[in-house]
Amino acid sequence: MDFLHKLRPYHLDVLKEIGNIGAAHAATALSELLNKQIDMSVPDVRLVSFQDLPEQVGGADTEVAAIFLRVEGEAPGSMFFISKIEDMEQLVRHLTKNKSFQLKQPPYDELGLSAFQEVGNILAGSYLSSFSDFTKLMLQPSVPGFSVDMTGAILSYGLIPLSEVGDYAIVIDTEIRELNREKAHVSGHFFYLPDPDSFEVIFAALGVETNE
């Protein structure tokens, strides 16, 4: 990826700020939805090889609950919300008041699943709309898909557009978690993986020089 050779630390800082704004809105939205205090980490922006990415999220064959959606519009990309299966179960149980909701063995409860998907909609929608306001770029989330499966299998899907140009991904990773961690807590990772051609668009929209 030619672009990666031109990447400077301040470019990563810009991406970090995008992650910050996006995740802050997503955390607020989740907090309102659950009526709980949600905290978020400082976003981590890194350049990782495909081999290393699943390892950083707990291993390629660790089972997780994930929401995946495509970002469509001027700066396309992929977005994931990945959390532990138990955490996602807690979240859905809280929302639907269905104490027996489980994601360990299909078939899953339909209503619970649509709540799961709705969480994805709300998180991604608030992340993207703030990102869109900030950059003035037109961006829309696709309908979210969900899966309970191995991390590697899920993440590799979002890596396909990037894999056509290189072996590295720029990952904007933000962790969100419930503040009160004594009892049931919810935590998860937000990944935003812009497509290769989107970086120049994002930087141009923010007035950051990429050609020097």
């Binding site: 990826m1 030619d2 495909f50 081999q51 990415l53 699943p54 291993g59 390629a60 064959d61 089972e63 995946f68 495509r70 360990k104 063995q105 299909p106 696709s142 309908v143 898909g145 969900f146 899966s147 309970v148 499966d149 191995m150 991390t151 590697g152 299998a153 899920i154 993440l155 590799s156 899907y157 890596l159 396909i160 557009p161 894999s163 056509e164 140009v165 290189g166 072996d167 290769p196």
Partner: protein, 162 residues
Amino acid sequence: MNEVIKVGMADLNVVTPPDTIRTSGLGSCVGVILYDEVTLISGMAHVMLPSSALCKQATPNPAKYADTAIPALIKKLESKGAKIFSLKAKLAGGAQMFSFSTGNDMMRIGPRNVEAVKEKLNELRIPILAEDVGGKSGRTIEFNPLSKKLQIRTVNQGTKEI
């Protein structure tokens, strides 16, 4: 001591008995196993994309594409003493992890990967003895050159051998 050789995403490697070879979390990617029936020298490639014609990279990674990974794996097997005429193949992977109403070509990448791998193996006259492809679930696979069996673990569906 038996070792497990790991193969990452867009990666390939070879193994000799009694070691085994494994790749974790195959989604739309395809795991291709080639093994020499006589010498038991075996190899695995974790293919991500169907064709290197899509490549926009200056120095492409051959292990990433179906059409380049198989020849690269054969070359590596031959350098260890395997013979192309005694090679057999087994495949797993190529799932469709997410289903969307909008039919985007990227979403069909799993089936396209499987087709491309089969096409290449057919062109090279390498018989496919077993396969476990498609579906909606990720797979972790491990090949044992001694038993010539491929163990496949799928979330919620347990483990099987082909």
